[in-house]
C-alpha cells in the first residue's frame, strides 16, 4: 500500500517540479463558473488521443475583455502517469453575436499546480463559447522537446 502512496507522492512531486511556483493562480474562475463537459483530442505522434468527459470551466473577467479557461484532469500525452488541472489565463475575447464569444491567444504559459507551467506553452488558441457550448483548439508546445501537440475540445453544458 505504501508503494502506492509513495508512487503517488513521487508522481505528485514530479509534477510539482514542473511548476515554476506554487503560488495561487490569479484566475477569475470559481466553483460557480460555467462548466462544460466534452471530448478533448490530442494529436500524439500522428494519432488522435481522445479523452471523453473532460470538464472545462470558463469565466469572463469583469470588463469582459479577457477569458480564463480551466481544463480539469487532462493529459497532454497518453503516457502521462497523472492527470492535471491546467488553467489558461487572460485570453483576449470578443463578442461575435448575442451570447457567442470568440477568443484567441498565442504564446501563453499555462498555469498548473498554482504556478506558471513553463514546460509547455499554449499556441494558436482559438475558439468560441456560448451559454451552451464550448469549442476550441490549441497547440500544447513542449518547450524542452520542442514538439507541439495539437489539441481540440468540444463540450456542452
Amino acid at each position: 500500500m505504501l508503494n502506492n502512496i509513495i508512487s503517488r507522492f513521487a508522481a505528485a512531486a514530479s509534477v510539482i517540479v514542473l511548476m515554476a511556483s506554487c503560488e495561487k493562480a490569479p484566475s477569475v474562475i470559481t466553483e460557480d463558473s460555467p462548466e462544460f463537459s466534452g471530448k478533448m483530442t490530442v494529436l500524439y505522434e500522428g494519432e488522435p488521443f481522445d479523452q471523453n468527459g473532460i470538464k472545462v470551466l470558463v469565466e469572463l473577467n469583469a470588463d469582459k475583455t479577457m477569458l480564463d479557461i480551466k481544463m480539469m484532469k487532462v493529459k497532454f500525452v497518453p503516457a502521462m502517469p497523472v492527470r492535471i488541472d491546467v488553467t489558461i489565463l487572460e485570453v483576449p475575447v470578443t463578442e461575435e453575436a448575442d451570447g457567442i464569444w470568440s477568443f484567441y491567444g498565442d504564446g501563453i504559459t499555462p498555469w498548473a499546480m498554482g504556478g506558471p507551467y513553463d514546460g509547455y506553452r499554449v499556441d494558436e488558441l482559438r475558439g468560441t463559447v456560448s451559454d451552451s457550448t464550448l469549442e476550441f483548439s490549441l497547440d500544447f508546445y513542449n518547450t524542452k522537446k520542442k514538439q507541439a501537440y495539437p489539441t481540440s475540445y468540444s463540450g456542452d453544458r
Binding site: M1, L2, N3, N4, I5, I6, S7, R8, F9, A10, A11, A12, A13, S14, V15, I16, V17, L18, M19, A20, S21, C22, K73, P81, V82, R83, I84, D85, A112, M113, G114, G115, G119, K144
Partner: protein, 755 residues
C-alpha cells in the same frame, strides 16, 4: 505431597477418582461440563496442579505440545499470545481458542498470557466448542480452575531462582471458618533480567516484572444458595520483541538491534461473582464478571537501529459478562435425558490510542527518499532532494472507541440409549461491533526549487463503522460404550460434528496507512494532480473483517485399563476441519507500516491426536502427539495463488513425551525422590503463505528432580537441555524480514511449601 503423575490426556480417570496434590477431594471442573470426562464425546486434555508444577508450566504458553496440536509460541511480549490449534490461529485480533478462568471468559487476548498462580486444574477441550462457549472457541477451549478455599485449607508458598536471574515467589493461604465462610488469597511475583540482548544498547531487551494477586471467597448464603467471589489482578512491566533481521540473499541473521524503546505494561483486574441456586427440580448458576484491562505498548516498529517509525498503543478497556446456566435435578431429570440450557451476554468497550510516529529516517527514506528518487534530474533545480518536509518527526494520530457486544442462547441435551450416548445442541449467537475513529496528521511541505515557504497540509479522517452478525452453532455427537460395566476397563468410541467461529472485528492497525494514503492523495488533489491508477483505497468500512467459521468432523476412541496395579489410558482421534472466511494477517505489499486481518479464502485441516499414559507403582510414562495437515483450499491474494499451500505458523507435528519415576523413602523427613525426563518436538512450521521459509523440527528435552520432604519440596528443572537454536516467529516489516530465536537452555531451582 504425592508426585504421582496426574496428567490425563484425553482419557481421564473416572471423576470420583480424580485427586490432586492438595487433598483427596474431587476437583471440580468447568460448570458447563456436566458429563464425566469419560462420557464426553470429545477429546479433552486435563493437567492437574501437580503436573503443572513438576513440568514448570507457569503460563498457558507452556502447555504447547503438552496438549496435542496446541502451539502457543513464546515471542514478542505477554501481549502477543498467538495461539495455533489444529492448523488454525492468528497473530492478532481474535483467538481461535476460548480462554476461561473459573468459568469467566477472558475477553481480551492481551490478557491470555498470565502467570498461573495456584491453578488446580487445566481442561483443554479440543475441537470447536461453539455450542457451549460461542465466540472464539472455534478450535477449542482452555479452562483454568483455581484452588478453591472450600476444597483446600492450608498455606502454600514457593520460591524459585533460575537462568537470567529469574526469580519467582508465591504465597497463598486458604481458610474455612465454622460459619462456612471459606476465604483464600494468593500473591505471586516473577522477575527476569531477560534472555536476549539488544546489541544497540548492549542491554537485555526483555526484562520482566510481573505481579499476580487473587482473592477468593465462598459461602452458602442459604442451604440452597452458594456464593463465590473471585477477585484477581495482574500487573506486569516488560521489554521484549528481540527480533533479528534476516537477509534472505545471504541467509544471514543479524543481531537484535533497535534504537527506540520497546516495552509493554499491563494492569488487568477481574471481579467475578458466581451464584448457584439448588432447587429440587433444577440448578441455576449465574456467573457475573467485570473485567478491566489497561495496557500500553511502545514499539520500535522497524526493529532496526534507524529512526524510522514507532508505535505507542494505549488501551483502556472495560467489559461485563453475564451467564446463566440451567440444569435439571431430581425433579426434572430423567434417567435417559439430561440437559443444560444457558444464556450469555457481554459488553466490552475499548478506548484505544495508537499513534504512529514517523521519525527522521522514516520521513527521508519511506516518504521523501522514494518521492525524490522519482523526480527527473532536469527539473530538480539542482537539488538532490527537492521535496522536503519541515518536521523531523510527526505523528499520525489514531484514536478509537470500540464497542463489542453480544448475546447468546444455547441448549445441549444428553440422551442415553443403552450403551449409546447422544449429545445434541445448538447455540444462537449475536454479536455487534461499532468503532468510532479519528486519525489525523499535520505536515509542512515545500518543493525547494519553486516554493519559498513551507505549506501546511492537514489530514483528518473520522467517522464510525459497525459490524453485526448472527451465528447458529449446532453440535451432534455420539459415544458408544464398548466396555459396559467391565471391571477396570473403560472403552468407548465417539464421533462428533460441530461448528465453531471466531469473531469479526476491525483492523485498527491499518489506519496509519489509510491516513498516509489520504494525506498524499489530498495533497495532490490540492495541487491539481490526479493519478490514473488510484489503486484500491482502504477505507474504514473496508477494515471490517467477518467471522471465521469452521465445521469439525471427528471420530475417535478412548481406552482406560486398570489391572494389577497397572494403569493405562489412551485415546486417539482423527479430525477434518473445513474453514470458511479464514482470517489471515496480511502485510500490505511494499514498505507498509501497517498490517491487517482479512478473510482471504477457504482452507481445510486434517489430522490426528493421540495420547497415552501408563503408570505402574512409581513409574509413569505419558505422551501426546498431534499431526496436522492444514492447507489453503482457495486463497488468491490477487498476485499469487496460495491454494494448496500450508497455512503458515501452525506446526505440522507436536509431540510431548515424559518418563518419570518416584522412589519412595517412607521416612518422616524425606518422603520420596522423583526423577523425570521429558521431550517436546514441534515442527515443521511454514513461515509464509508462499511456503518458501520452513522451520525444521525443533526438539527440546528437559528434566526435573524433586526431593519431597514432609513440609516442603526441593526442585530442580532444566529446559531446552541441548540448547537448541530455533526460531519461534517470523514476519516482515517495511520490506525487511525478521525472526525471533527461541529461549536458550534454562535451569530453575526452588523450594515449595505446602502446609
Amino acid at each position: 505431597m504425592t508426585t504421582i503423575i496426574s496428567v490425563l490426556l484425553a482419557v481421564p480417570l473416572p471423576e470420583e477418582e480424580l485427586h490432586d496434590t492438595l487433598s483427596v477431594v474431587v476437583v471440580e471442573q468447568s460448570i458447563k461440563q456436566v458429563l464425566p470426562l469419560e462420557r464426553l464425546a470429545a477429546p479433552v486434555s486435563v493437567v492437574y496442579m501437580n503436573d503443572l508444577e513438576d513440568r514448570g508450566i507457569d503460563s498457558p504458553k507452556d502447555l504447547s505440545s503438552v496438549v496435542p496440536n496446541l502451539h502457543i509460541p513464546d515471542y514478542g511480549s505477554a501481549m502477543t499470545s498467538s495461539i495455533y490449534l489444529r492448523g488454525f490461529g492468528s497473530r492478532m485480533e481474535n483467538p481461535v481458542l476460548g480462554f476461561y478462568v473459573d468459568d469467566v471468559p477472558v475477553l481480551n487476548k492481551n490478557a491470555y498470557d498470565v502467570d498461573m498462580l495456584d491453578i488446580r486444574r487445566v481442561d483443554m477441550f479440543r475441537g470447536p466448542q461453539g455450542t457451549l462457549y460461542g465466540r472464539n472457541s472455534m478450535c477449542g477451549v482452555l479452562s483454568l480452575s483455581t484452588v478453591s478455599p472450600s476444597d483446600y485449607q492450608g498455606v502454600r508458598a514457593g520460591l524459585e531462582y533460575g537462568s537470567a536471574n529469574t526469580v519467582s515467589a508465591r504465597a497463598s493461604i486458604y481458610r474455612k471458618g465454622k460459619d462456612g465462610l471459606a476465604v483464600g488469597g494468593g500473591i505471586g511475583f516473577r522477575h527476569s533480567d531477560g534472555f536476549y540482548t539488544n546489541s544497540y544498547t548492549g542491554k537485555a531487551c526483555d526484562p520482566y516484572d510481573g505481579l499476580t494477586l487473587r482473592l477468593r471467597m465462598e459461602k452458602y448464603l442459604r442451604p440452597d444458595l452458594h456464593f463465590e467471589n473471585i477477585l484477581s489482578a495482574g500487573a506486569l512491566k516488560q521489554g521484549g520483541w528481540p527480533y533479528r533481521q534476516y537477509i534472505p540473499e545471504t541467509e544471514e541473521l543479524l543481531e537484535t538491534s533497535y534504537n527506540d524503546e520497546c516495552g509493554y505494561s499491563r494492569l488487568n483486574i477481574t471481579e467475578a461473582v458466581k451464584l448457584r441456586l439448588d432447587r429440587d427440580a433444577c440448578t441455576l448458576s449465574s456467573i457475573s464478571a467485570l473485567q478491566m484491562l489497561f495496557d500500553r505498548m511502545d514499539l520500535d516498529q522497524d526493529f532496526t537501529p534507524r529512526s524510522m517509525f514507532t508505535l505507542s498503543q494505549i488501551q483502556r478497556e472495560g467489559a461485563l459478562t453475564q451467564e446463566f446456566v440451567l440444569r435439571p435435578k431430581d425433579g426434572w431429570k430423567k434417567d435417559w435425558w439430561y440437559w443444560q440450557s444457558g444464556a450469555f451476554a457481554f459488553w466490552k468497550f475499548n478506548r484505544m490510542s495508537a499513534p504512529v510516529r514517523f521519525k527522521e529516517d522514516g520521513i527521508s527514506d519511506l516518504i521523501l527518499g522514494n518521492a525524490n528518487n522519482n523526480i527527473p534530474e532536469e527539473v530538480s533545480g539542482g537539488y538532490d532532494a527537492p521535496l522536503a518536509i519541515k518536521e523531523n518527526t510527526f505523528p499520525i494520530g489514531s484514536e478509537f472507541g470500540i464497542n463489542t457486544f453480544g448475546a447468546a442462547l444455547y441448549h445441549e441435551s444428553y440422551l442415553t440409549f443403552g450403551r449409546w450416548l447422544v449429545t445434541a445442541g445448538v447455540r444462537l449467537d449475536y454479536e455487534g461491533n461499532t468503532m468510532s475513529y479519528c486519525s489525523d496528521a499535520l505536515i509542512n511541505y515545500r518543493f525547494l526549487p519553486t516554493m519559498n515557504d513551507w505549506k501546511p497540509y492537514e489530514t483528518v479522517y473520522e467517522g464510525r463503522v459497525s459490524n453485526h452478525y448472527v451465528e447458529v452453532l449446532p453440535k451432534l455427537s455420539v459415544l458408544y460404550d464398548l466396555a459396559g460395566n467391565g471391571r477396570g476397563v473403560q472403552a468407548a468410541v465417539f464421533g462428533i460434528i460441530s461448528k465453531g467461529y471466531r469473531s469479526g472485528g476491525f483492523n485498527t492497525q491499518i489506519f496509519s496507512d489509510i491516513l498516509q494514503n489520504m494525506m498524499m492523495n489530498g495533497l495532490m488533489a490540492d495541487l491539481g494532480v490526479y493519478l490514473d491508477d488510484s489503486g484500491t483505497a482502504v477505507t474504514a468500512e473496508s477494515t471490517a473483517y467477518r467471522p471465521e467459521k469452521t465445521w469439525n468432523y471427528e471420530v475417535g476412541g478412548k481406552l482406560d485399563v486398570r489391572k494389577g496395579g497397572h494403569h493405562f489410558s489412551g485415546s486417539a482421534s482423527v479430525f477434518y476441519i473445513a474453514c470458511r472466511n479464514q482470517q489471515i494477517t496480511l502485510f500490505p505489499p511494499g514498505k507498509s507500516t501497517g498490517r491487517m486481518m482479512a478473510n482471504v479464502g477457504r482452507s481445510r485441516s486434517v489430522g490426528t491426536e493421540v495420547s497415552a499414559l501408563y503408570g505402574y507403582k512409581g513409574f509413569s510414562a505419558s505422551m501426546s502427539y498431534g499431526y496436522t495437515d492444514a492447507r489453503f483450499t482457495d486463497y488468491d491474494d490477487g498476485n499469487n495463488d496460495f491454494s494448496g499451500n500450508r497455512i503458515p505458523y501452525s506446526p505440522e507435528h507436536t509431540l510431548n513425551a515424559r518418563l518419570a519415576y518416584r522412589l519412595p523413602f517412607n521416612g518422616d523427613v524425606v518422603r520420596s525422590l522423583s526423577i523425570a525426563a521429558d521431550c517436546s518436538l514441534v515442527g515443521r512450521i511454514w513461515w509464509d503463505e508462499a511456503n518458501t521459509l520452513v522451520e525444521p523440527y525443533v526438539v527440546q528435552p528437559g528434566a526435573d528432580i524433586i526431593l519431597d520432604f514432609k513440609w516442603f519440596d526441593l526442585r530442580f528443572r532444566m529446559d531446552n537441555l541441548l540448547d537448541y537454536d530455533y526460531n519461534v516467529f517470523y514476519f516482515k516489516s517495511i520490506g525487511n524480514s525478521f525472526f525471533q530465536r527461541g529461549k536458550p537452555l534454562r535451569w530453575t531451582a526452588g523450594i515449595t511449601l505446602d502446609i
